[in-house]
């Protein structure tokens, strides 16, 4: 019995030593596990010369390549809704786009929620940049901080500009929301949103460089900010300010119209001297269809069945657009891709009969690039958001609206610059506009915007801001279009539900 006790003590002793050893060995470090093979914000090795904010800024740019911001809902809302484009694809495909084409768009339409969350996603990423800068306790040089702020405010301004045109009444968020309770923000009127956008873009214009080093080509510039600002003024009929902002771009000497119209939209025409701002996309054999690129061209590409299967075939030029061109206008052939082909395309391809007679040639990819990437779906195609021709036409429009002989002359000369490039030396076509009648010139400028910027995200918004949407769309057969309702998309029902009714639906829905 005595022996047993001894043994027990030994066992107990060993046990305690053993247990103690294990505990001491484990407890402190054992539960401390830092992510493996993955950076955190604490241990990210910033590239030499790169600012600590680049990573956040780049993420905001990446937000513009997403499905939500710039792909399906985008082409639906900015183009299919207009008289220039039909839904495309096949008759039954994508009920959500049928609504975009025919009105009304119902509040449960998933594309509206995509657009909403997409642009607010970019805004959040911009707010994160601004928050990081504001909390910067390191000795980061002021210019570095200001540059990050300027890029963020440019992208945020652009996102709000899209949202205000799409939805009208939207919540204004300028901080990073982390509290569930505080995140439910009510809507601001469009005027307040426009004022907010102006401040963002004015700040961006004052800080951003006129040009970036070639390795950062396509990054937001002061020209992009001023050009966007001009458009924001134009939408508010602030003609003088619009003209002034456009004039800054024109006077910057950075941009010209030397790129032939049929080259602007090709792979070779990306970031040309005409480009004021475009969403940058990339694809190669390793990144055929991923987040490096954007699906924008894919959803619009020719809906073929073999080598000619270039995409889903949505957003196709309408018969009305086809008929709107002046005789012999060469821009038509650079905008509308016919199926079956009436002649070999610029790359020598001949399309057979496809589900639609016309496709958007501005997203038509070069077969050489397709072969190099090993993919037909065009995720590498940049999206042209703002071109120099657009800036010139904005200037012309603002000048004409301001009126007066000098302004009218100025408007005519800017209009002629655009038409001259389109004419491409062929004086038999596209005669110069000479009228000095404000109304006639207005019509001419509106026509020029439609043709020059056809299929480029302007038409529906232009119709609405010119106040002619109902007339034009009804004439184009879109008789469901109801003035007072269909100028704006409905606030997505999902968002109204989430907000417990804090968000109010737009009128008429």
């Amino acid at each position: 019995m005595r022996r047993m006790n001894n043994n027990f003590l030994l066992i107990a002793g060993f046990s305690i030593v053993l247990l103690g050893g294990i505990l001491a060995g484990c407890k402190k470090d054992f539960l401390n596990r830092i992510p493996l093979g993955q950076y955190t914000t604490n241990n990210y090795p910033y590239p030499s010369g790169g600012g600590p904010y680049d990573q956040y800024v780049f993420a905001a740019y990446a937000g513009l390549r997403t499905w939500e911001t710039s792909v399906f809902g985008f082409v639906g809302a900015v183009s299919i809704r207009s008289d220039d484009a039909d839904k495309g694809s096949t008759a039954a495909d994508a009920p959500a786009q049928i609504e975009m084409d025919n009105f009304p768009v119902t509040p449960t339409n998933g594309l509206t929620n995509d657009l909403w969350t997409g642009y607010y996603g970019v805004i959040t990423k911009c707010n994160v940049v601004l928050d990081q800068v504001a909390r910067d306790s390191a000795n980061t040089p002021e210019p570095t901080k200001n540059l990050a702020k300027a890029e963020a405010r440019f992208l945020r301004g652009y996102s709000y500009f899209m949202l205000v045109r799409l939805f009208g009444n939207i919540p204004l968020v300028d901080t990073v929301l982390t509290n569930v309770g505080e995140s439910n923000i009510s809507q601001s009127a469009p005027a307040a949103v426009y004022a907010f956008i102006e401040q963002d873009l004015q700040y961006a214009a004052s800080i951003l460089p006129a040009k970036w080093d070639v390795k950062y080509i396509g990054r937001a510039t002061s020209g992009a900010a001023n050009g966007m600002l001009a458009k924001v003024y134009l939408y508010q009929k602030k003609w003088g300010q619009a003209m002034a902002a456009a004039d800054v771009v024109i006077g910057s000497g950075v941009y010209d119209l030397n790129t032939p119209y049929d080259k602007i939209f090709t792979e070779d025409g990306e970031n040309s001297s005409e480009s004021v701002f475009e969403i940058q996309a990339y694809a190669d054999a390793n990144h055929k269809e991923d987040s490096y690129g954007v699906q924008y061209a894919n959803v619009q590409g020719v809906r073929g069945t073999d080598w000619n299967d270039l995409g889903w075939g949505f957003n196709v030029p309408s018969a009305q657009l086809d008929a709107a061109y002046e005789p012999g206008d060469p821009r038509k052939a650079s905008t509308i891709l016919y199926a079956p082909s009436t002649a070999p395309t610029k790359y020598g391809e001949v399309f057979p009969v496809e589900p639609n007679p016309r496709y958007n040639e501005k997203v038509y990819t070069n077969p050489t690039v397709r072969a190099a990437v090993g993919d037909r779906f065009g995720w590498w195609m940049n999206i042209r958001i703002l071109r120099y021709a657009d800036v010139l036409l904005m200037y012309a429009e603002a000048a004409n609206e301001l009126g007066g002989a000098a302004n009218t002359d100025s408007a005519l000369s800017k209009l002629e610059m655009v038409r001259a490039r389109a004419r491409n030396g062929n004086n038999a076509i596209l005669p110069a506009v000479t009228t000095t009648d404000q109304g006639e010139l207005r019509t001419a400028i509106q026509h020029e915007r439609r043709i020059e910027l056809a299929m480029e995200h302007e038409r529906f918004f232009d119709l609405v801001r010119w106040g002619i949407a109902a007339n034009v769309l009804h004439a184009a057969g879109k008789t469901n279009f109801t003035p007072g309702r269909d100028e704006l998309l409905p606030i997505p029902q999902t968002q109204i539900d989430l907000s417990k009714g804090v968000l109010k639906q737009n009128p008429g829905y």
């Binding site: 046990s15 396509g218 940058q280």
Partner: protein, 1021 residues
Amino acid sequence: MKQLNSNQSNYLRTWQGKLLFFILTAFSLIGFTQKSNAQNITITGKVISDSGQALSGVSVAVRGTNAGTATNTNGEFTLSAPANGTLTISHVGFTSRTVPINNQQTLTITLSTSAVTALEQVVVVGYGTQRKRDLTGSITVISGDEVANRPSVNPVSSLQGKVAGLTIVNSGQAGASPTVRIRGVNSTNNADPLYVVDGILQTNIDYLNQADIESIEVLKDPSSIAIYGLQGGNGVIIITTKRAKRGQTTVSFQANVGIQKLNNKVKVVDAEGFKTLFARQLQNIGAAPFDFTNYTANTDWQNQIYRTALISNNSLSVANSSEKSTTYFNIGYSNQQGILKYDNYKKYIARLNQEIHITNNIRLGGEINGFYWQQNPPVGGVQNGALWAAPIVPVKAGDGVYYSMPSFQRAQVGNPVAAIDLENGNTLNSGYRVTGNVFAEIKFLKSFTWKSTFYTDLGFNQTRGYGSLPFHFINFGEGATTTDTSYNNLAHTSVNQSQTLYKTYQQDHTLTFDKNLKGGHHLTVLAGFSTLYHYNEFTNGNRTDTSLNIPKNSIFWYLNTAQQSNPGTFGGGASEDASISYLGRVNYAFQNRYLLNVTFRRDGTSKFSPSRQWGNFGSVGVGWVLTDENFMKGVSWADFLKLKASWGTVGNGLNIGNYLSYPALNNANVGIFGNNIYTSVVAAYVPDPNLHWETVEGKDAGFELHTLKNKLNLEVDFYDRKTHDILTTITLPGASGNTGYFTNLGTIDNKGLEISAGWKDRVGTDFSYSVNGNFSVNTNKVESIGNNINFQITNGINLTQSGYSIGYFYGYVQTGIYQTTAELDKTPHMSSSAPGDISYKDVNGDGKIDQNDRTYLGTPFPKYNFGGTIAMGYRGFDLNVDLQGVAGNKIYVARRTATFATLNYEVNRLNAWTAAGTTNVEPILDNTRANNYLFSSYWLEPGDYFRIRTLQLGYTFNTSRSKNSAFKMLRVYISGQNLATFTHATGYTPEVPVSDPVTAGADNGVYPVPAIYSFGVNVTF
């Protein structure tokens, strides 16, 4: 020397170091305790039944030690034991006895046949065992025999219908793991249960041989689960594998071989039906008729992609036991072909278990289990493809030349046979897994047991694959176009490789005190310490050869075959987590009547930030055996009656990410400028600094009754289980855009009732039968999911929000079909509605149909689960019938909702509306009417089903009559599984996926569950 010491202590901090240290310690302990066994005497004895027959194979053990033996065929045993010790004698079907030795060297012991054997059954609970009669919680035990003979490669799938409160959704894919839910869905995250295999915590048991399982315990209530703390929130399934029984040497072989067949095809129209319906659809749209001239085929695509497939399971085990040691060895081989062509899964298993009884008080043991699997996975998407492909297209024209679908679906629907043939053999998946443990157990001072176990689970999976060149396709001419052959010349061959490594280390140390105290008190106290560590690492890559065509021969399917300048992508990563746990449990019984179970566990985990790492969990359970009370002595209707109730909390931390307290960085958001790519990393979500695990709080009350001379037993349990602080990524309204916020939010409640009943009787001497049934009902409710905002999780079909069941179907209610314009005018409708369209219910009564008329349409989760077993035995024959079913759920027929192309029609569309009065269910054939494609009750069908799960007829040869027989036991059987399923669901199977709680219940091309006809044999030598 100092240097050396520091090395030593570093070494001890590693796992291997600790293991070695412990083993050395254990062995040194053995040396010390060896001496204490000097006072033993040798006892010889005999065990007989109350009718005087010698009983063989009876377990004779020395209480409080590991010493023991079994009787031989004459009922005799010899054993060395302390002169003042106590023997425990137990045998299946007899009441166990304890006999004091009192220095006697010869003993004759009589066992009486047991009245309530089921109650004496020993149940494995966490870190110990308990008699079933003493349980205060809700644990269902399934014997290994019930799964061993079933023609299935995964042991869990055979539990379907066996356990009240357990929902199992099987898949027909070869080797697939089923989805398992215990008592409903209690989280918006993964709701898979924890598996505990011989003590090691696991997330799956794919590596086990189903014929090698001794028992499966399903732990359902908090007082049973609480001992597993943070890991146990979704319930626990304990698996005990077979061991050698003391005193026996047996060789047993089990095998079954069967064929599997698709017995429910989805009813789609044939070529003629398709032509009629498509022509009518084009007419309705106002489109030009389609030119069918070249489309003369009538192909049943389902017949083309499915096959009759083979399944076989084989298991050989050898068990040997001697005075000092037991050895158990098992090898197994299973091979399952999938009924979808070329799907194949093979598994090979070897397990060795060894225990050494060094002294009566010291036991050492270990186990090693090796597993190798091979898979040719099925091609995804063809289950739907076969339903969608137009039946008017022939299959193939020759080697590598197939027909493409008509232009209206050519780019969207591939030729399903071409898809299968192209991928045939292109993916080689395989994996190795080794699990093992070593343990030492020391009994001391009669009542104490110290046990230490180290476990490991090492896995290594690899995949090699090949990207073929495409086939040539013949495109039939339609109208103006002519027939031609096309080939995608952008395609190149490619190869890929990926490898994944898994490591798990676990150690458990428990000290148990077990003693009968004076005055009828029985006390069992357990204290323990455990750590768990997981690690996984993967690398993968692929390379496309843009200049050469790599042959379709697996000897070339390595990355280096394609030379390095070719394009490729490569990836790799790793992840780890660790936890530390302290656990304790007190079981107390007074006069076997009053039962108390108190459990505590404190868990720390690396998954959360240091301030929120630790949590305490626990439970209290009480039981009262009324039939042991004096006032019940005269009551004849109850042989055994126990009331029980329990309360407890557990964590639900099993299936959550490893680095939640760090904001996950998303490096997909690269900056692109021109053709330059810039790395960018940004938080994928906004993290909540107070993030912690989900907590499940459960209450359970029930009773267990044995009556009618123990022929009928009945168990009834009520439960109420509430999950608090559910971990969710939420999208804040608008404001945050699509950036998620990850937080603890919400409460989900599951309430339910479980009833299990069994009846067992014998008619005459030759015929015996039993009937067992179980039924459960579960009600799920999301009690809260955010306060200031009306937070929902929705994919447009399923909705999770406060006040409703999780992931319920949310949409419009179909009231019929608008028959005429006149009817349309007087009925609420959408502005785009026309005659022939679905009419929807004006739920809010505002006279118009819009998004506010969407409502609750049903739940994807069965409210009722039921199952039953009927067993009959007549002489050597036995017949087993397993029945199983669910009710109360809905299935979303997602496979029919596609509008991106014209697809083949299911037969319901033959009844589509054509004119007033033709139908009030099926809308007009016009897929441009978007309002008919809104999610509504039209797209739901009842998910109820009742299935004859197993029908098995066996014959056991009477080996006792022929003493010279080579066998101890020989049974042969034929078996049918999934023979018939009675359901209104129109898919391949009503078992549609429910693994993701918030998007469950969609039939979007599920893998059919086949009928299996098999033959099997069990032999014991």
